[in-house]
Symmetry: C3
Subunit: 114 residues, 3 copies
Amino acid sequence: MEACLAESGVEEGLVLVNAMHITASVFINDDESGLQADFETWLETLAPEKPHSQYAHNGGEDNADAHLKRQIMGREVVVAITGGALDLGPWEQIFYGEFDGKRRKRILVKIIGE
Amino acid sequence: MEACLAESGVEEGLVLVNAMHITASVFINDDESGLQADFETWLETLAPEKPHSQYAHNGGEDNADAHLKRQIMGREVVVAITGGALDLGPWEQIFYGEFDGKRRKRILVKIIGE
Amino acid sequence: MEACLAESGVEEGLVLVNAMHITASVFINDDESGLQADFETWLETLAPEKPHSQYAHNGGEDNADAHLKRQIMGREVVVAITGGALDLGPWEQIFYGEFDGKRRKRILVKIIGE
């Protein structure tokens, strides 16, 4: 991200960071391994993967739960750029979460400003 | 959306698309009818409409559940514009979800860039 | 917010409003006290604070639930600026929600446009 930002030369603006896959999320939270485990457990409680038959989407697919989990965690974040740097709070870290586990990871980074 | 974008003449920028109603969502996910049904069932599990009396909001209203559902699905999406087109992943589709069912649908589309 | 906007002189653009804390949210919903109470009760159902031991994050902390609640309510909102004013729907109000309760409240407001 910092490399994209440096390349853009933008000093004041916004950056959009989004998952390009609909079973994945880009989100901001704490970089703490216990919390990452908590997210997985919690999302599985709210939108269990199995039985696959509980979801209408799972005729030819088996990843309906990943589409639901991604709605809770969100598709995108928008972050301010101030003085040429990401304007994040002290503990804010940007994460990519993949809930299907079988996709190549692609995110989109779009920077606007001047 | 494509018509708005063409009219704007913006080649590089961002578009904000948001619900103007607080019982509704604009979100991005898969355009698959089974999944749409799964979202409805799932949201009803997480934030059941009835009994109406379970919500303090339902003194003069009966749509508290719709306000909760909308928080899970989100109010808005921000999408990159690249080369004059929406820069969406292969399966990304923008949806409007209305959880109260009694409102005229209005969304806001704001395009910035150059 | 209106003061920030007036100071910026921006007539057409976007404003990003985000929590700088990872146990807090900025969100848009209805300014109704019953609904605010409903949100608290509902979030406690989906991500209960106690027992603290149910979360791996709570080795040295006791606020894992607040990190989860914030994901449901969201980190940020992006709002259109039109004619020098926030372009909000009739009932849309911007809120700050703190789920840990022990932090000084800081939000970031970033305005872009012209």
